[in-house]
Symmetry: C2
Subunit: 346 residues, 2 copies
C-alpha cells in the first residue's frame, strides 16, 4: 500500500509539542507515512502578515489528511487566526462534519462524582460549515453610542441535511442507535425549524434509530446531570462548540478530547486536531498532555480506512489511562508520548 | 407602608404548584401583598388563541412586580408561547438584566464530586433584550432542497452598555469584586467586538473591579472544572441561557435555580421566575421542588427594597436545604412549601 501523505500544522504554543508525540505514535503503529510540515500560525502571521495563503491552501488539498496541533496566541487580535486560518480550513475543505467523541475512559478522573465510563460514551456530530460561523454580520456607527452590531446565522437545507444524514448513519453503527438533535428551536425559530424538519424527515429513512430532541440549554445541563441520556448528538456549529467543551470537562478534561474535521465526501482532505487550544501559559514546559492529539491520530487512521491501526492506538491510550489510576502522574508531554508509543510497538 | 401590588402568572404544568408555595412564603414573611392572578399560558392559548393580549400587558405595567411560575406545554408548537408570551414580557417590560445566581448552598448535593459551597458562588448577569432573542431572521424556499434560513443577532451600544454597567455595579457590591465577560469574540467578531470594547471602556470607571474574559466554550468547561474562577459574569442573552443551565446543574439542580428579569430603571415592573420550565411530565403530582420559585421571591423582595424580608426567606431556604442533608427527602411540593413557610414565620 502506498504511503499516507500527511500535512502537519503544528501551529502555536503547545501545538508543536503535542504534534511531535502524536507523530511518534503514528509512525510506531506501522503505517507508512510521509509528512510535510506547514508553519502556519501566529509566528508566520507576525513575520509575513499571512494566515493561509492561497498557494498553501491549494497544496493542502493534495494530501490524504491533515494533522493540526493548535492555533492562536494572545499577541494576535482575536478572530484573525480563527477566521482566516482555522475556520477557513474547515470551510474551504468542506469539513461539514466536526466529529467529537465524548468518552470517559476507565481510570480517568471525572469531576462528576458519580459518573462511570458506561455513563459517558457519546459522539457529537457538530456541523462545521454554517450557522454563526459564516462570519456574516455588520456594524454601523462603530464606537459611538449609536453603534449597532449584527451577527448572522446562515443555514441551508443542503448543509443541514448532509450532516443530519451523517449523524443518522453514525447512530445506526452504534449499539444504542440513539440520535439526539440539540438546538434552540423555541427561540431560533427560523434556523431551528429547518433543523427540526430536516431531522424529522430524514428520521423516516432510519426506523431503527431512536430519536430525541433537546434544547441546547437543557442538553448542557444533562451533560452534567445525566450524560447517559446521550449516544449520538447532531447539532449546529455554535452549539456543538459549547457542548463539546462541557463534554471534554466531564470526560476528564480538555487534555483528552480529540476531534476530526471531516469531509465525508472526500472531495478534500479531512483534518484532525485536539479540541484544546494553544495554551500559551504552559507552552514549552513539557506540561501539555499529548493524549488528545494522539486520539485524534486514531480518528485520522480510522478515516483513512486503517481501522486496525486506529484501534491499536486507541487501545494504547486506553491502557495508558488505566495506568494513571495507580498514581502514575507527573509525566512530561514527551514521557506520555514515549509510553503510548511503547504500547503501540510492544 | 403600602401593599405590594403583585401580578401572578402561574402558567403551565408545575408552574401552578410552585407558585402556590412561593406565595405562602411571601405572605408568611410579613409583607403586605395584594395579588392578582393572570391565566396566561397554554390553556388560554388553546381556548382563545391569545398569548399576551395588549390589554393584559398594559395592566401588568401597573404592578410593583410580577411572579411567574412556568410557561410551556408540548401541545403548543415550539416558539409560540416562548416568543409571544415569555420573551414578549421580557422585551416589552425592558427586562434588560436577567439575573441568575449560581450558588451551592451547604447541604445540597452537587454532581461535582469535589466542589464545596465556597467554590460555587456567582451571579450571572445575562442580557435580556437583545442578540439572537430579537426574533430576527427569515427563510427562503421553505421545505425545498434550496431552503435558506437565517437568524440574526442584534446588538446595540445602548443595550450592551447598560447591562455591562449593571454588572460592574453588582461586582463592586460583592467581596471578590471580580467581573468576567463571557462571549465568543473570536467567532462572533461584530457582536463580540462591541461587547469587548464596551466592557473595556466601562471597566476604566471601575478600577476596584478585577476583570477577566472567557470564551463561552471555555466558560462552559470551567463551570464544571473550576467554578471558583467566577464571581460575577456578564454575558449575551443566548450564552447566558446556556451557562446558567450548566450553573443550575452544578449548584444542585434546576429545582433550586432562581432568576429575576429585572428592569433596573424601574420604568416597568420586574419579573421573577424559576429557571426551570413547566415540566409537564411531573405536573400535578406534587413532585416539583418549589425552592427555585421561593428563592425567586427572595430576589423579588430584594428588588423592592425589602432586604430584611429577602434575607429571611433566603435564610429559611438555606436552613431547609441543610436539613435535607440529614436525609429529609421525599417531601411533596406542598410539604417543602410548608416547611419553609414555618421557618419564615418561626
Ligand atoms: C478556536 C475556535 C474558532 C474554535 C471554534 O469555535 O470552533 C474552537 O473553539 C474549537 O472548538 O475548535
Ligand atoms: C423558555 C426559553 C425561551 C427561555 C430562554 O431561552 O430564555 C428559558 O430557557 C430561560 O432560560 O428562561
Amino acid at each position: 500500500s502506498r504511503n499516507i501523505r500527511l500535512a502537519v500544522i503544528p501551529g502555536d504554543g503547545i501545538g508543536v509539542e503535542v504534534v511531535t508525540e502524536a507523530l511518534k505514535v503514528l509512525e510506531a503503529v506501522g503505517t507508512k507515512v510521509e509528512t510535510t510540515t506547514y508553519d502556519l500560525g501566529a509566528k508566520r502571521y507576525h513575520k509575513t502578515g499571512e494566515t493561509l495563503p492561497d498557494a498553501v491552501l491549494d497544496e493542502l488539498r493534495g494530501y490524504d489528511a491533515i494533522l493540526l496541533g493548535a492555533i492562536g496566541d494572545p499577541s494576535v487580535p482575536p478572530g484573525i487566526l480563527e477566521r482566516d486560518l482555522l475556520l477557513k480550513l474547515r470551510f474551504e475543505l468542506d469539513h461539514y462534519v466536526n466529529l467529537r467523541p465524548v468518552k470517559l475512559f476507565p481510570g480517568v478522573e471525572t469531576p462528576l462524582g458519580k459518573a462511570r465510563p458506561e455513563d459517558i460514551d457519546m459522539i457529537v456530530v457538530r456541523e462545521g460549515t454554517e450557522s454563526l460561523y459564516a462570519g456574516a454580520g455588520g456594524v454601523l456607527r462603530r464606537g459611538t453610542p449609536h453603534e449597532v452590531a449584527t451577527q448572522e446565522s446562515l443555514n441551508t437545507a443542503f448543509g443541514v441535511e448532509r450532516v443530519v444524514r451523517y449523524a443518522f448513519d453514525k447512530a445506526l453503527s452504534r449499539p444504542r442507535k440513539k440520535l439526539t438533535l440539540v438546538h434552540k428551536t423555541n427561540v431560533l425559530t427560523y434556523a431551528g425549524d429547518l433543523w427540526a424538519r430536516t431531522f424529522d424527515r430524514v428520521s423516516l429513512e432510519y426506523p431503527d434509530v431512536t430519536t430525541d430532541y433537546c434544547h441546547v440549554d437543557a442538553a448542557s445541563m444533562f451533560f452534567v446531570t445525566q450524560p447517559e441520556r446521550f449516544d449520538v448528538i447532531v447539532t449546529d456549529n455554535l452549539f456543538g462548540d459549547i457542548i463539546t467543551d462541557i463534554g471534554a470537562a466531564v470526560a476528564g478534561g480538555i487534555g483528552l478530547a480529540a476531534s476530526g474535521n471531516v469531509n465525508p465526501d472526500r472531495t478534500a482532505p479531512s483534518m484532525f486536531e485536539p479540541v484544546h487550544g494553544s495554551a500559551p501559559d504552559i507552552a514549552g514546559q513539557g506540561k501539555a498532555d499529548p493524549t488528545a492529539t494522539i486520539l485524534s491520530v486514531a480518528m485520522l487512521l480510522d478515516h483513512l480506512g486503517l481501522t486496525a491501526e486506529a484501534a491499536k492506538v486507541e487501545q494504547a491510550v486506553a491502557d495508558d489511562l488505566v495506568e494513571r489510576l495507580t498514581g502514575w502522574a507527573g509525566r512530561t508531554t514527551h514521557e506520555i508520548g514515549d509510553d503510548i508509543t511503547a504500547r503501540v510497538t510492544g
